[in-house]
């Protein structure tokens, strides 16, 4: 659906990174973790296209949804200046969600979030814990502590959070993917399930580790998008389906894919 939703919270939470909460009960009511909303940033023709943002929080009771974004270009720059009380023209919820209905409460879940890809891991952690999973671990990565999302966004869902930064300014020094092997071995976690969203290099590493270790893994892909509803065919990625490699739309068939079906371009 397309709605004009009032901003009820909008604040800077890290270097050039903002948390935006909208009151939009219809979308909150039907949205699932992994899905995104498509926001018109400003009312002019420049920038022309909407900007897609994965949902970081879905509060069905309060009727609110949140996204966390980094100011990267003109669209997000304009968005960052929108005050509380202003309404935003949004479409959503769009795209596929993380598939969690089949996951047993006895499973452990490891959620790998890198950089500005990490936000949907908060709503996913909340949903998994809501399903009764006892051990949900978020591996939260960032370039540095200035770019690190506040740990509290994830810990308040009940998830355990382990931090890695590239420069070592917070948590483990190194890539967040380096924390993954110790989290899915040792039998402590039971049969683990892995979810990841972040930069392409991180997704490749997580996907290939899980595939070679027989661990189920779902990846959320990022793409520049135009329509967001499948009409324009602009946001395709390559996947293996029914034995052949084909392009599918990140906005409609995705953004969440099984790690085993994603074909990376080298």
């Amino acid at each position: 659906m397309q709605v004009h939703a009032p901003i009820i919270e909008h604040r800077r939470i890290a270097d050039d990174i903002f948390l935006l909460t909208l009151s939009v009960p219809d979308i909150a009511g039907s949205a699932e973790p992994g899905q995104f909303i498509h926001i018109k940033c400003g009312s002019s023709f420049d920038p022309l296209l909407r900007r897609p943002f994965s949902l970081s929080m879905i509060d069905k009771e309060a009727g609110n949804i949140s996204v966390i974004y980094e100011v990267r270009g003109r669209g997000t720059k304009i968005l960052s200046t929108c005050p509380v009380g202003q309404t935003l023209d949004i479409m959503g919820p769009l795209g596929s969600s993380f598939s969690i209905s089949h996951i047993s409460p006895q499973s452990g879940a490891v959620l790998v979030g890198g950089g500005i890809g990490a936000p949907p891991m908060a709503s996913l952690a909340q949903a998994l814990i809501g399903k009764g999973l006892k051990r949900v671990t978020v591996l939260l990565g960032a370039a540095s502590k200035e770019k690190l999302l506040p740990e509290e966004i994830f810990t308040r869902t009940g998830a355990e959070v382990l931090i890695a930064t590239d420069d070592g300014s917070a948590g483990y020094q190194g890539f967040v993917t380096e924390l993954l092997p110790s989290q899915v071995s040792g039998g402590e976690v039971g049969t683990p399930v892995v979810f990841a969203c972040g930069p392409e290099g991180m997704l490749k590493a997580v996907g290939s580790f899980c595939l070679s270790n027989g661990i189920p893994c779902q990846l959320s892909l990022e793409s520049v998008m135009a329509c967001g509803v499948g009409a324009c065919q602009g946001c395709v990625c390559r996947v293996l389906r029914r034995g052949s490699v084909e392009y599918v739309r990140v906005c409609t068939e995705g953004p969440v894919f099984d790690a085993g079906e994603v074909i990376w371009d080298d």
């Binding site: 659906m1 420049d46 022309l48 296209l49 023209d89 520049v224 329509c227 065919q233 395709v236």
Partner: protein, 305 residues
């Protein structure tokens, strides 16, 4: 809506209002069905199909430009067979005229597509895409050459009795010469403009951004060019025109109508405001009421009459 006639006739295709969708921006008609009933439109124009399935171009396929987009989709489509077995049945609830768009590498491809689609009662007319600039041999060779345009249209004409709408490329020196050739070949109507060839260069890699290098510019940025070309073609030929290129609002649609378009198509702006086609229909009605226009057809080409 009783006091104003918004209905138009394009080559025997009766549309309850002048608004349709620009091919390639609306998929196969159902992607926007969560936003409004497609039957509110005057007609539905589908994405171009080819004889065989096409995967389309590697990403990036769309890049934003000032008030526009560069796109290089590469005619991604499921091919004729799946169009007939999957797409057509999915359109059962669509009661408005459906225009299929066809594209090919050879004149024979176009003729065969036209022949096969003629047997399909769901199709009210054929838009012949002779101007897609994205695929090698995907149309540009036909669309920029008067002799080729006439030969192609004649071949398609002899393969079908369906109304033929030829979609023209703006990437030519004199669009009226191409328009005349299409009409001489047997076109019942013309659609214009397709995208303008453009390019963006990545200043970090120092290479073109698109894998296909050249891409098609669309969106509000191209509207003045489209209006000018419709105005020129409307005075050069005597067939109805479906005008398009950057239409976002009823005011934009009215410019095209006054330039000579009987029907108008919303393209890129569907991506920005999915409700745009419906808002434009309402806006056309409101304009007519406010200005005492009884029939929208009175406005067609009024800028030069």
């Amino acid at each position: 809506m009783t006091e104003v006639n918004l209905a138009v006739d394009v080559a025997g295709i009766t549309m309850d209002n002048p608004v349709t969708t620009a091919s390639g921006t609306y998929g196969f008609g159902l992607d926007y069905s969560r936003y409004y009933d497609v039957n509110l439109l005057g007609a539905l124009t589908l994405k171009s199909i080819t004889l065989e399935k096409r995967e389309g171009n590697p990403p990036p396929r769309i890049i934003e430009t000032p008030a526009g987009i560069l796109n290089s989709i590469g005619l991604a489509n499921p091919g004729l067979d799946r169009f007939l077995t999957e797409v057509i049945p999915s359109l059962e609830a669509v009661k408005i005229p459906v225009l299929a768009s066809i594209a090919g590498d050879t004149i024979g491809d176009y003729a065969l597509l036209a022949e096969k689609l003629s047997q399909e009662p769901k199709i009210a007319g054929l838009e012949v895409n002779i101007s897609c600039p994205n695929v090698k041999k995907g149309g540009l060779e036909f669309g920029v050459d008067t002799v080729q345009v006439k030969k192609l249209v004649q071949a398609v004409r002899s393969s079908t009795d369906l109304p033929l709408i030829i979609k023209l490329s703006p990437n030519v020196t004199d669009i009226t010469a191409i328009a005349r050739s299409a009409v001489e070949g047997g076109a019942d109507a013309l659609a214009l403009i397709n995208t303008l060839q453009g390019m963006k260069i990545d200043i970090q890699t120092r290479k073109p951004c698109m894998a296909n290098k050249v891409a098609g510019l669309a969106g509000p940025a191209v509207k003045p060019i489209g209006v000018r070309m419709v105005w020129q073609v409307a005075q050069a030929v005597n067939v109805p025109i479906i005008g398009m290129g950057g239409i976002c609002t009823a005011e934009d649609a009215l410019e095209y109508i006054m330039a000579g378009a009987t029907s108008v198509a919303v393209g890129t702006f569907n991506f920005v405001n999915p409700m745009a086609p419906v808002e434009i229909i309402q806006g056309l009605y409101d304009y007519c009421i406010k200005n005492g226009i009884k029939d929208i057809n009175e406005l067609v080409g009024c800028s030069f009459k």
